[in-house]
Symmetry: C2
Subunit: 99 residues, 2 copies
DNA sequence: TCATGAATTTAGAATATAATATTTTATGAG
DNA sequence: CTCATAAAATATTATATTCTAAATTCATGA
């Protein structure tokens, strides 16, 4: 099934958002539990602005959502289809031949 | 399930290879039928060197393979898990909420 | 061998991404 | 109000991608 261009661009935008180690790890953490920015930046050993920028990219694609709770902002997986996608990826990567 | 970093990098490499409209379209065409570079460049209305470069990226990740047949080189999907991934993507993108 | 078509390679310029450092905004405590 | 902390926004720099153009390789047929 060959897709029309518009939908195809949409999919590659989604893939591009996920195609970064830090963002992929953010997604994998958020699938397990919602987290605030500070926790994420400590877990990932990256600066707070850096994580915030990555979260912004994920949010702009509708992958994650956030909710302010007092002074902290909690992020969570917003699009359930991303969980399916992630699970397929970690399942299929086992049969992945390098090179 | 949170992955270790190495596997995570591997997955994001795979996603990065697919996260380009032209390459995604190449994959979608090759899932239907093997094709030579010239055909692909005509179908996608892109230059032959450009398509050749994209094919090289897909090949370096093991996504596609190729076989020379006389003067033409035929490309085909090498990793079957990419087909599963593609099918999930076009199925899930229907429930995709923009923004 | 020469010409041609198919494909790849290389070099470059233009654009896009990503990280760091800095500043700004928001919230809550005292 | 002032201070401290969390988060976001901005600016800058460094790096990576992508496309175009030109040159090169490879196979085939006249």
């Amino acid at each position: 099934m060959v897709l029309e261009n518009e939908r195809l661009e949409e999919i590659s935008e989604l893939l591009k958002a996920l195609a970064h180690p830090t963002r992929l790890k953010i997604v994998s953490i958020l699938i397990s539990s919602k987290q605030c920015v500070k926790n994420l930046s400590e877990m990932l050993e990256a600066s707070q602005p850096n994580i915030s920028q990555h979260l912004n990219i994920l949010r702009s694609k509708g992958i994650v959502g956030c909710k302010r709770d007092g002074s902290v902002v909690c992020y969570y997986i917003k699009d359930p289809s991303v969980i399916k996608l992630y699970e397929l990826l970690i399942k299929e990567v086992y049969s992945w031949q390098e090179k």
